[in-house]
Amino acid sequence: MTEQSPSRLPAPRVAASVAPTTNTHLDIAEVTKNFGSQAVLKGVNLSVAKGGTTAIVGPSGSGKTTLLRLIAGFEHPATGSISLNGTTVAGNGVWLPAHKRHVGYVAQDGALFPHLTVGQNIAFGLDSSALDGGRRAVKTRVQELLEMVSLDADMAKRRPHQLSGGQQQRVALARALAREPELMLLDEPFSALDAGLRVATRRAVAKVLNEAGVTTILVTHDQAEALSFADQVAIMRGGKLAQIGNPFVVYTRPADRATAEFLGDAVILNAWMEGSLATCSLGGIPVRRPPAQGLVQLMLRPEQIRIAPDGPIRGVVVDTDYFGPETTVRIKLAPRVAAAGASLAYPGGGEIITIRHWNASITKPGTELCLRVVGEGVAFPVED
């Protein structure tokens, strides 16, 4: 992937264990940050490739916004260093203030200046004396940026309070893009928008940033947003990055149970690991690189478990939640039965699992179902 052609999924670009190359735009090394006696960041390492899109996702208080503010230059790291394009901007006795970092920043609510019009907001960071054509060039640039974020040119004369939430975020993005930053930081920019507007604005923002080829870091607590927006997802928990990888990898092969459950619904069952096969109430499930042998916890995503008339697993519907396009079904698994003369290493049974199905009518409570598992599982060591 190059700066000129920032492509999207599926190819994951970042391998955290590999030393950064010249393609690295942002490099965070062993960064810590304390607020008083509270350690907010506890040694964060992160590399972001040029032109890439990284989502930092985590629960409230995990330190993700603090990390973003350190990158922006609004906070000082306690230890560690931050480098942009190979140049240290914080740490090791160096400090480059925010206004010299050439980093775009879009805050949660847009942070538009209420005393300025939309046009003046967008032009705020532009220096008319430094542009060929002076004020006329600034005006032209404002029009270009409005067009880039799909807003009418007439909007330039409006005040921020006359815009909808989605429009305000687009203006904030246009304002941040005006100086052509090499790195754009987005601090939960869609969280204040309602569901419909959030998706539309997210798509629009992603498209603009993609076309501009700007390296982007999005901070969010919404895992679905992170998975859909970025080509690299970093999961943050307790001031540390628990896992970094492309969205497909972190979703299907989470590093631990907490990450698995944070990123989406997960079916977790006790299982018996022998070689690369985990045996549980759902039968034998292949596991790539099992962490241990013997008793483990097996994780599957609900969509991996399908209702199939010829499925080998039996269960009874406990209850359902109807959501329109899909129905969440809770099923109590029956014990597995061994073939005549054979014995089961781990019969299991009795656990209640959750799956998703499109047809609500076949999932009445008490209905007996046959199930089949698709794909691989992920095994975690049994927690003490």
Partner: protein
Amino acid sequence: MTTDLSAPVVSKTSKSTTTAGRGKRPRPPFGVSAISLIAVLIALFSLIPLGYVAYMTAATGWNTAVGLIFRPRVGELLLNTVMLVVFTVPICLVLGVGGAWLVERTKLRGHRWWAVALAAPLAIPAFVNSYSWVSAVPSLQGIWSGVLIATLSYFPLVYIPAAATLGRLDPAIEQSAASLGLGPWAVFFRVVLPQLRIAMTGGGLLVSLHLLAEYGAFAMIRFDTFTTAIMTQFQSTFNGTAGNMLASVLVFFCLILLLVEVRSRGSARYARVGSGAQAKPIRLPLRHYQIPSQLALLALTVLAFGLPIWFVLRWVFAGGARVWSADEFLPALLQTLAYGTVGAAATIVVGFPMAYLAVRHPSWFSKMLELSNYITSSLPGIVVGLAFVTVSIRMVPGIYQTSGVLIAAYVLLFLPRALVNIRSGLAQAPKELDEAAQSLGKTPLASFLKVTLRLTAPAAAGGAALVFLAIVNELTATLLLSPNGTHTLATEFWSKSSEIDYSGAAPYALLMILLSAPMTYLLFQQSKKVAGQ
């Protein structure tokens, strides 16, 4: 960079990098240390009056102090002052809250007009009010006259916050109470009135502090309070021990009132809880109480506003062209405008660091800094004046009776008016906007000037206007501290009226009222905004 799909891994190693600005040490956020230092200096400066009182009490010696404090004259002053507070404050509470309720919560005809009319008496300085009443009833004197004039002058201090709070109370709470079976009166006493607690305690405290600080209004009707007695002592013995001891008792009284207000304010939450749009307040029909209500408000407005205006205008016309002598009138007007403008500007400049710390870096430290000033500004002008007289004579004789000392006293006395406004303005300029400006390439100073200062300016201007109003009407500290040859509207009015030249005093009174009127309206509007935050 390579890809490893097989195993989830956590980041990476470091690498060789160049550095930007190597050797620069990390600095704390923009100017916070400097601002903190300035705020500490201001807080220390504002503690001068309290320090003066403590020092004078200690220097007097225990036996002398006891002898000067525990004597019949002090007992008499204490009784007068306590009675004044005990009678005036409850009447102001009844008039203020009652008026606010009629205006904000009933279908009172012309309620918008009445809303302004009930705040209008604040435009008339208490000593001008007293002058008008003495003109109407020359025999006026004693405690009941004091209560009458104080009530008519100060009830808007309760009315304004009460009206602002009532206008913002969520009617859903009253509707819930009604649905639980409470009638209109029960709803008022059990639901509405408790929510006015902050407005009532705050307004009551303001009235009390004004009663302790007022000199001109009570001197004119020959009613002795601590402040009038201290001024008399000062005029007869300049900086005598007896006057200082009276000041100590007065300060003690003020601190007790502050404590009572803090305790009675309570810790309950009065802000609206929950989301969604707030409905408009419900107005109760007055039916056959409409006419009595109109008459009651008319009587109050006539007594508090109409009568003073009438007598001021009467004296102005009685004096004819003689009283408008430009030689006397113009210098007083210009000096008042100059002191008001410079004092207001200085107060805003001094208030900014404290407000900035309180809003952007709230901590026990910033609270202590603010508290130190609130205590000082609660002290009567005469105590602040005496403190500056003493300190300047003993420590820096060169600045005694200079404009600088008078401006410094104004700053200490009226800083809270500026602080409230600057804080409100800074709240409109969250630090995220500053950060957004910095991320757009502006230096911290440029961000501060172009965003924070620009957004705070309107509120700061409002605060400056209120300080200006206070300075225009300030009499006590000005009498004590003004340089020789200083003539302000207030001191000229006082000088003329003391010589029973009521016609000569009238133009100064009229001008003070005219200058105060728009500021009073501003204060009224602002209180409504503050109640909504």
